[in-house]
């Protein structure tokens, strides 16, 4: 086979000669003969292509499209029987526009040393690929960064127009960006260094191959491709009735938009209306607020009994007295006025618009006063989401309340029995009952117990002599046993049990069971006495108020406002 597109022989001869053999048999390198003007490097490249059987189906194409730079020298196409699309230098920015000139369903398109000069590689690759028939081939040939360029970054030492350097990984990465990975398979990705002179100095263009060759084969569209977009974590298919309420209630389809608040904090009102000790404990919080807002005008509203101390602190620009509480509740000196304190306070604060208002009382009685103040930001304790209008709520638990000890008795009428008899507040088990071993005698009361450490006293008395019964403590209606054992039923004292749970116990169950088979002694069950131990963890009042002050300072470092904007979910 003579590869010759030279000056002396007609190019058609070259085409015909090679084309004639192409559908029949793939030429072996030894069968090739060369003629100018195909350069040695191009010849090496052709040999490289022919040496890869993976490329055989592509090169056997009855029709090849070669896309290259117009300035390619020599002008011969790499392979015969090739339709050449030249891209001029001034067309590179819109190089992808050359492909619409091509008909659809091409069998093989060869991008020969052009990709590295095209700014928009993504659309260029995609543009070529869309012109392929299913099963068609896209062959991309680019200079190798470490064979041709031999530089770490642009510009190229040889060609000013080279915008990017390529390694096989880089070429594949660009391809993956440009093409849906479900629409092609990689048939070949290889470095061509045949005859490359590895000793050539950097400022020369070394002899030999210095390319990367990538061959993709286009696949038919996958029927599952669209479904792949629906990621499984995004939705759930249902076969049963939908168990959930819709995400939009009452047609309120809104956006919540949180944006920076431009306003500064110039005026600040602090409420500390409770008693002398409370006021003393609030001093660190006052100091924090003053430090956080050094230029703001701070007004303190406090009980009249604290007014002088407040002024002596020299932290406030103004101190206003307002007696919401009595100075001494134990003396019964509550205010004799029948007027609503909130209305009184609203009148007092009518001209007191401010940027920030804070109520430092832990409990919520005074929060209503905060509500009537005109302020952009309102801060206070709100452990139970009682005051949704607070813009800076601190849901800190109050140890005295959330950690308080609880005690009581669960009377026998809350328990169930089969063999005993409910009588007033007791369950009576008469003498002579025959029981199986482990038979349940008492069970219930299926109430929820909060987390904590519990002490129980089983209120059970023997009718005659002392004896023993089995018991267990369970959660979830008896499905989860928390504890079990034996108690002695004695006339002199009630049996005691303990239980600790870090989580709430739902459907708490206590059971009494016969320890052995046979006639059971008579006894009386009156209920279960319980006590949850108090918890002494948490923060001190002084610390809690300081935390609120710090929270306010931190929040208003980057203040924001929240707005609801109505909008259709579809846009």
């Amino acid at each position: 086979v003579l590869l010759d597109s030279g000056r002396d022989r007609p190019y058609e001869f070259y085409i015909l000669t090679f084309f004639a053999c192409r559908p029949m048999s793939f030429p072996q390198p030894a069968e090739l003969a060369w003629a100018d003007p195909l350069s040695q490097q191009s010849r090496d490249l052709v040999l490289f292509l022919l040496s890869h059987s993976a490329l055989e189906p592509a090169l056997r194409s009855p029709w090849l499209i070669e896309v290259r730079l117009q300035e390619t020298d020599p002008p011969a196409s790499l392979l015969p029987d090739t339709f050449v699309l030249d891209i001029a230098a001034d067309e590179l920015a819109s190089a992808h526009c050359v492909f619409p000139r091509l008909g659809d369903a091409q069998h093989c398109i060869l991008l020969r040393n052009v990709l590295q000069c095209v700014p928009d590689y993504r659309r260029f690759i995609a543009g070529a690929f869309t012109k392929l028939a299913c099963g068609g081939f896209l062959i991309v040939i680019v200079p190798h960064q470490f064979l041709y360029e031999r530089k770490l970054q642009v510009p190229s030492r040889h060609k000013r127009a080279h915008l990017r350097f390529y390694t096989p990984g880089a070429l594949l990465a660009e391809t993956e960006e440009a093409l849906d990975p479900c629409c092609y398979r990689v048939r070949l990705l290889a470095d061509n260094d045949s005859g490359f002179d590895y000793r050539a100095p950097l400022d020369t263009v070394p002899a030999g191959g210095h390319d990367i060759v990538l061959c993709l084969q286009k696949l038919a569209p996958m029927p599952w491709r669209a479904a792949m977009e629906q990621d499984e974590s995004q939705s759930t298919a249902y076969t049963a009735p939908h168990p959930y309420l819709p995400p939009y209630d009452g047609g309120d389809r809104a956006y919540r938009v949180i944006t920076p608040d431009a306003g500064e904090i110039r005026r600040l009102i602090v409420l500390k209306l409770d008693h002398r000790g409370d006021f003393i404990m609030a001093v660190p919080a006052f100091q924090i607020l003053r430090r956080a807002f050094p230029a703001a005008a701070i007004t303190l509203v406090c009980g009249s009994w604290n007014r002088q101390e407040a002024q002596d602190l020299e932290l406030f620009d103004r101190v206003v007295a307002f007696d919401f509480f009595a100075e001494d509740p134990s003396a019964g000196t509550a205010s004799s006025s029948d007027a609503d304190p909130c209305e009184q306070f609203a009148a007092l604060m009518a001209e007191e618009a401010c940027d920030l208002a804070i109520d430092l009382r832990l409990y919520g009685e005074t929060r209503g006063l905060l509500k009537v103040i005109e302020a952009r930001h309102k801060a206070g304790f709100d452990p139970h989401d009682e005051f949704p209008w607070l813009t800076i709520p601190l849901n800190l638990p109050a140890p005295t309340i959330t950690g308080r000890a609880e005690q009581g008795v669960i009377l026998a009428n809350k328990f169930h029995t089969r063999d005993g008899e409910h009588l007033a507040f007791a369950v009576i088990f008469p003498a002579g009952l025959i029981m199986a071993q482990g038979q349940s005698l008492i069970w219930g009361p299926y109430v929820t117990l909060g987390p904590g450490h519990y002490d129980f006293e089983v209120l059970v008395e023997p009718g005659m002599e002392d004896f023993e019964l089995c018991y267990d403590l369970a959660a979830d209606g008896g499905q989860r046993i928390l504890g079990a054992g034996v108690i002695r039923v004695e006339r002199a004292r009630f049996a005691r049990l303990t239980l600790a749970s870090l989580r709430a116990i739902k459907q708490f169950e206590f059971r009494l069971m016969a320890q052995s088979a046979g006639a059971a002694p008579p006894f009386r069950f009156m209920g279960l006495r319980y006590r949850r131990q108090g918890v002494y963890t948490g923060v001190h009042q002084r610390e809690a108020m300081a935390l609120l002050a710090h929270l306010v300072a931190l929040r208003l470092e980057h203040p924001y406002t929240v707005n609801r904007v109505m909008g259709d979910p579809d846009g």
Binding site: P119, D120, F165
Partner: protein, 363 residues
């Protein structure tokens, strides 16, 4: 600056979009991000950089596919954390889900749009900073703390968060904050951003990766409500320009950092190569450019501004180094400054070219 093998030089810093999160339920759909990017390209006329990890690159490919390069660049898996921070510092704004990138952008004072899913309470987890806009859908099922589980409502809090609405709400809020003075100081990069300056490049995370041609410049970007024009200054160093083989010492790869381009007619009479230097193949956005060569010039030097491999924009001859004005009316890719010798050129010593870009149409 280097960004994962990219020498960003000479283009407007890109908007950074971080479309991923640790949990899929927190992610805005890719289709929504695509629409958002279309609006950014069309209306803000700034490039976009997609950021993510190497593992997220395949999904980032899905996002960038179909968009032009370099209008939309996929940097997923190619940036070190430090490079990412620089990218964010320079960005006009950052768009992200409830993710680490949103928090990073927020604390660095960058304008940040956070598309916040209903999986978490926004009160507790939203990014906080001086220029943060958070948008959530008001849904009665939020917060659900769903984590990696399946949402029975096809993640309505995110799929129903429409991209056009998000774009417009963000734009409007950002503009109103400028008017109201919330963004009291709008100068990027903030503290530390000066590390974008030329010469601060660190080792590339993957030297084998191809450096794209376009890049945004080292330098300072200033946008202020007090000055509505967009301004940017950067420097093209001599090291970023190429020299024909005839004018470079044999074996020299490229001028080392800090090098100068020198020509002396007395010693280089034997060559007839006219081109003395060329480069740096950057993209230019529309606007007014002042190019001020720095160095010494004795005689007449021919300067050609070209793009796209040689298309001439402007040509002029100079006999001293002063500001050269170039009005760019449309985006130019592969922009090149070519210095050519003339018979009257006696000597040249070029250290750098200072560039001042003003775009009065943007604020």
């Amino acid at each position: 600056m280097d960004d994962g093998g990219m020498s960003w030089q000479g283009v407007v810093p890109p908007v950074v979009i971080s479309p991923f999160a640790n949990e899929r339920v927190r992610e805005w759909p890719i289709a929504h991000y695509r629409r958002f990017i279309e609006r950014v390209l069309c209306e803000h006329r700034v490039p976009v950089a997609i950021v993510g990890t190497r593992a997220q690159r395949v999904r980032a490919d899905e996002l960038v596919r179909g968009f032009s390069y370099p209008e939309v660049v996929n940097t997923a898996g190619r940036l070190s954390w430090r490079q990412l921070v620089r990218l964010i510092d320079a960005a006009p704004y950052v768009v992200a889900n409830n993710s680490g990138i949103a928090h990073l952008a927020a604390v660095r004072g960058c304008w940040t749009l956070c598309l916040f899913s209903g999986s978490h309470s926004w009160v507790e987890w939203m990014p906080r900073g001086p220029r943060v806009v958070v948008i959530t859908r008001v849904t009665s099922c939020a917060p659900c703390a769903l984590g990696g589980g399946r949402c029975p409502h096809r993640t309505a809090c995110m799929t129903d968060l429409a991209p056009d609405a998000a774009f417009e709400l963000f734009d409007e809020r950002r503009a109103s904050c400028h008017r109201d003075g919330a963004a009291r100081e709008f100068v990027t990069p903030p503290a530390g951003g000066a590390s974008l300056a030329a010469g601060s490049a660190e080792a590339l995370p993957g030297a084998g990766l191809p450096p794209p041609s376009t890049a945004f410049p080292p330098g300072e970007v200033t946008m202020s409500r007090h000055s509505p024009a967009f301004e940017r200054r950067f420097t093209i160093r001599a090291a970023e320009l190429s020299r024909p083989e005839a004018y470079r010492p044999r074996g020299e790869d490229a001028p080392p950092s800090g090098a100068v381009i020198e020509f002396d007619a007395r010693h280089q009479q034997e060559t007839d190569e006219e081109v003395l230097f060329y480069g740096p193949y950057i993209s230019l956005d529309p606007g007014i450019y002042l190019f001020t060569p720095e160095g010494e010039l004795d005689g007449k030097l021919q300067i050609r501004f070209t793009h796209q491999g040689g298309e001439l924009i402007k040509e002029l001859a100079i006999d001293s180094f002063g500001p050269l004005v170039l009005a760019v009316t449309r985006k130019l890719d592969a922009f090149e400054v070519v210095g050519m010798r003339t018979p009257e050129l006696r000597s040249l010593r070029l250290q750098s070219i200072a560039v001042h870009h003003i775009d009065p149409s943007r604020n």
